[in-house]
């Protein structure tokens, strides 16, 4: 009860505070001469944003860059030691390998499945229902999804009843030995990637479906009249028309993959060679208190994302030029 009250109070103070801040500043600049007012007002509107972004994103980013050259207590300059560690340590190399695996398999599967679903679902009457089902995992947390799939992968030695549906199929139905999906090194990374695919395919499908429906129907009809079959239609007309949307979706997936953390944290905590870069960083930071190394790992993540950032900015500027 007390907490409900304090939550409500917090909401009122938080929201009221922000509005009061803007109204108060607006009131204050009302006393300035008109010309000055015009010049000051924009900074009142964007001021809070700039302060918050500086404090929460710009300053920490620059600071982390600097920390990556210092020792674990952030006191002594150690040159490139953290970087050497990041690129030579065995556990680090494993996590790089896993991130590459995620990058390739996850991105390829989510985008291609999303594309296939967008095209196929357009042809059936129950499109909306099917879309909801596939899109649903987007709403739940990675932690929740992790538990759901841990249960799907549940493993018991042969002879006991299997309560995980996958091993029930493998063992009870097909008669093979049950598999420790999250333990077997040949399998576990793919088992984790499957969870990611389950979550994100709906996202790709929704965007690609919107793009597919944007292709003029006459164009598809004309190609059909000219004797193209559905297969040719897909490769020669649909795919080229959707190229730019596919690129956008794929870059979004790449950004996701680089930052993937929760799924691995909940399902294996990086054991059995399933660690990825973000989990490695968390471990260096919290478990080992190696702040220099953790910073270097964070910078590696940023460096991997910078090309995407550059593309984003260029695309934004092109859009602005058209406006």
């Amino acid at each position: 009860m007390k907490q409900i009250f304090s939550t409500l109070l917090a909401i009122i103070i938080g929201v009221g505070g922000i509005v009061a801040l803007f109204l108060g500043l607006e009131f204050l600049i009302g006393f300035l001469p008109d010309r000055t007012q015009e010049r000051v007002r924009p900074w009142v509107y964007v001021g809070p944003l700039l302060l918050i972004l500086t404090f929460f994103l710009v300053y920490p980013t620059l600071n982390t860059l600097y920390l990556s050259f210092l020792d674990k207590y952030s006191e002594v300059f150690v040159g490139l030691d953290n970087w050497r560690y990041a690129f030579t340590n065995h556990a680090m190399l494993i996590s790089f390998r896993n991130n590459v695996l995620w990058l390739v398999v996850f991105t390829a599967l989510t985008v291609s499945l999303g594309l296939v679903l967008a095209v196929l679902l357009d042809r059936v009457r129950y499109e909306a229902v099917a879309k909801s089902i596939i899109f649903l995992p987007m709403a739940i947390s990675f932690v929740g999804a992790g538990v759901i799939w841990k249960f799907v992968y549940a493993f018991r030695p042969a002879g006991q009843p299997q309560i995980g549906i996958l091993n029930a199929v493998v063992n009870t139905l097909l008669g093979f030995q049950p598999i420790g999906w999250l333990i077997e090194r040949a399998m576990n990374n793919f088992a984790l990637i499957a969870v990611g695919v389950w979550i994100w395919t709906g996202f790709c499908m929704v965007i690609l479906s919107a793009a597919y429906k944007g292709i003029p129907r006459e164009l598809l009809e004309a190609a059909r009249v000219d004797g193209a079959n559905e297969w040719q239609l897909f490769w020669r007309v649909t795919l080229p028309m959707m190229k730019s949307t596919i690129a956008v979706v794929a870059t979004t997936m790449v950004i996701n993959v680089l930052k993937i953390f929760d799924i691995v944290y909940v399902m294996t905590n990086g054991n059995f060679d399933t660690e990825v870069i973000a989990n490695r960083m968390y471990k260096e930071m919290f478990a080992f208190r190696e702040f220099g190394r953790a910073s270097a790992i964070a910078v590696i993540l940023l460096l991997a994302i910078i090309p995407v950032m550059a593309v984003n900015i260029r695309r934004f500027q092109e859009q602005e030029a058209i406006r």
Binding site: Q3, S6, T7, A10, I11, G14, I18, L23, E26, R41, P42, P48, L49, L50, I52, L53, P60, T61, N63, T64, L120, L121, R123, V124, A130, I133, A139, I140, S141, F142, V143, V147, F151, V152, A154, P161, I163, G164, I165, A168, W198, V206, I207, V248, V249, I255, K259, D262, V266, A278, Y282, A294, I297, L301, L302, I305, V308, M309, N312, I313
Partner: protein, 286 residues
């Protein structure tokens, strides 16, 4: 064979494929939901699909798992914490972003373009780049482990996307409308509250849903800034801990997981349209 039958037969593989995928996609969640209502011994002895052997025997379901996780395991408390964290963490960034987005769209000031390009750049900066310095500042200021601290953190992380979306939306509103308002002597404050905001309700709704779900489902930010402080831990953090402490107690884990998912599912089913719109608007960002 008549034409209709042939058509039905030729589209059969399509339907089989779609229904198959939809089934694969829903089975994991269905398994979770069913198991969360089954008694402990049943969950241990047999797979959840065996309930379909007696589909109308409702005695095989009970609520004990939920009662246990909500009270003894502290999921009830965590649910309230999640609400306390999520609502202000949704409203504050949107309020700040709305004012800033308005300025970027409708005001002239030096550096407008450059500053907005910086915002676009910040959209993809990984959270990991900010964790260590911010945590240190938080520890010094006593913000670590407090609701205020996590509200501010989520505000910072959510702002680039919020500003980006709102500025672009405000920018597409008809120019004439604002110009005639200004000619009639309207101030920017009036134009903001009377024109920009009311016309942007769909965009604001999409953004609110997005930010709310993002905060509700977040684990990393809570893990870093709330750390081990049990009293303020949200559902995701609590759930992640239960996965370790409850181990193979699937009857409890499934119930707890469903508790974390309940509110997002309600939001999803009631506001799916806005959710999809938000994704489509945000997709442009890449």
């Amino acid at each position: 064979m008549n034409a209709r039958l042939r058509k039905a037969l030729s589209s059969a593989p399509l339907h089989v494929a779609i229904v198959g995928i939809a089934l694969i996609w829903s089975l994991p969640s269905v398994g979770l939901l069913i198991s969360s209502f089954r008694p402990r011994n049943d969950v241990f002895a047999s797979g959840w699909w065996t309930v379909f052997q007696h589909p109308f025997d409702f005695t095989q379901f009970q609520l004990n798992n939920y009662i246990h996780v909500l009270t003894t395991e502290g999921m009830g408390r965590a649910f309230l914490n999640s609400l306390t964290i999520s609502i202000p963490s949704t409203v504050i960034p949107i309020a700040v972003a709305a004012f800033a987005g308005y300025a970027f769209a409708w005001m002239e000031f030096p550096g407008r373009q450059v500053l907005f390009v910086v915002v676009v750049g910040l959209l993809v900066v990984p959270l990991q780049m900010t964790l260590i310095p911010l945590l240190r500042v938080y520890n010094r200021l006593g913000l670590a482990g407090t609701f205020l601290g996590i509200w501010l953190a989520h505000t910072g992380y959510g702002l680039p996307f919020a500003v980006y979306l709102l500025r672009n939306f405000f920018g597409t509103l008809p120019k004439d409308l604002f110009e005639s308002a200004f000619i009639d002597g309207a101030s920017h404050l009036t134009a903001f509250f009377r024109l920009a905001l009311p016309l942007s309700i769909p965009a604001l709704a999409s953004l609110a849903i997005f930010q709310f779900l993002w905060v509700w489902n977040d684990l990393l930010v809570a893990l870093i800034y709330l750390g081990g402080t049990e009293a303020v831990a949200p559902l995701t953090l609590k759930m992640a801990n239960l996965v370790n402490s409850l181990g193979q107690n699937w009857h409890l884990l499934t119930a707890a997981a469903f508790v974390t998912m309940m509110l997002p599912l309600v939001v999803f089913f009631s506001l799916q349209r806005y959710f999809v719109q938000g994704i489509l608007a945000g997709a442009v960002k890449g």
